[in-house]
């Protein structure tokens, strides 16, 4: 069974600084997708960034980037130039590739606080 582990329940970062959130996963699949979702205090989950395991290049979306280490099964999220609006719960998620892939397996989340 696939598992996703986020070992940092809470983190904080100074506004304008950079922070990295960790995520590791366990799978026997060779191709899969990884995601970071953000859940702000309003509670509506939104997708931050996604990565296909088949692609070696790390995904980037503006101030958000990932460090994908397939051999180590690690998928960390880096937030640069942190803003107050980045304060939220961040969830790492995994799903295998294929016609039957529908289920996102989530980690327990990391609560990020941004200090002004």
């Amino acid at each position: 069974a696939q598992t996703v582990t986020q070992s940092q329940p809470e983190m904080s970062v100074q506004e304008a600084e950079t922070v990295t959130l960790s995520c590791t996963y366990d799978t026997s699949e060779s191709d899969y997708y990884l995601f970071w979702y953000k859940q702000p205090p309003s509670r509506q989950m939104i997708l931050v960034i996604r990565q296909e395991a088949y692609k070696q290049q790390n995904a980037t979306e503006n101030r958000f980037s990932v460090n994908f280490q397939k051999a180590a099964k690690s998928f960390s999220l880096k937030i640069s130039d942190s803003q107050l609006g980045d304060a939220a719960m961040y969830f790492c998620a995994y799903t295998p590739v294929g016609a039957g892939s529908y289920q996102l397996t989530f980690g327990k989340g990391t609560k990020l606080s941004v200090i002004p």
Binding site: Y33, R43, Q44, V97, G98, A99, S101, Y102
Partner: protein
């Protein structure tokens, strides 16, 4: 543009009472629909998913059931609530089953069972 609605936003129910949570999607056809539960301090747990009207797959055997009476309507139900059913329930939709397709989440329903 597509939107997803959930209601009610909050609900307080006594143990043993029935439950009906509704989710509707606008602006898309034939979406895949999902119900998740988020318990305090835990990630999201997939409860049910549906690929079409009347087609429901259950991921976790429990006190809950789901139905999809219309293409863009997804209902989560229970005949008798348990204390352990308390949590935050999220509905989501996606196009296609391929993992790369983003799942879009609704605003959620906070359920408290007393």
């Amino acid at each position: 543009s597509q939107t997803i609605h959930q209601w009610p936003a909050t609900l307080v129910q006594p143990v043993g009472s029935p439950l009906s949570l509704e989710c509707t999607v606008e602006g898309t056809s034939n979406p895949n629909l999902y119900w998740y539960r988020q318990a305090a301090g835990r990630g999201l747990q997939l409860l049910f998913y549906s690929v079409g009207i009347g087609q429901i797959s259950s991921e976790v055997p429990q006190n809950l059931s789901a139905s999809r009476p219309q293409d863009r309507q997804f209902i989560l139900s229970s005949k008798k609530l348990l204390l352990s059913d308390s949590g935050f329930y999220l509905c989501a939709w996606s196009v296609g089953l391929a993992g790369y397709n983003e799942q879009f989440f609704g605003p959620g329903t906070r359920l408290t069972v007393l």
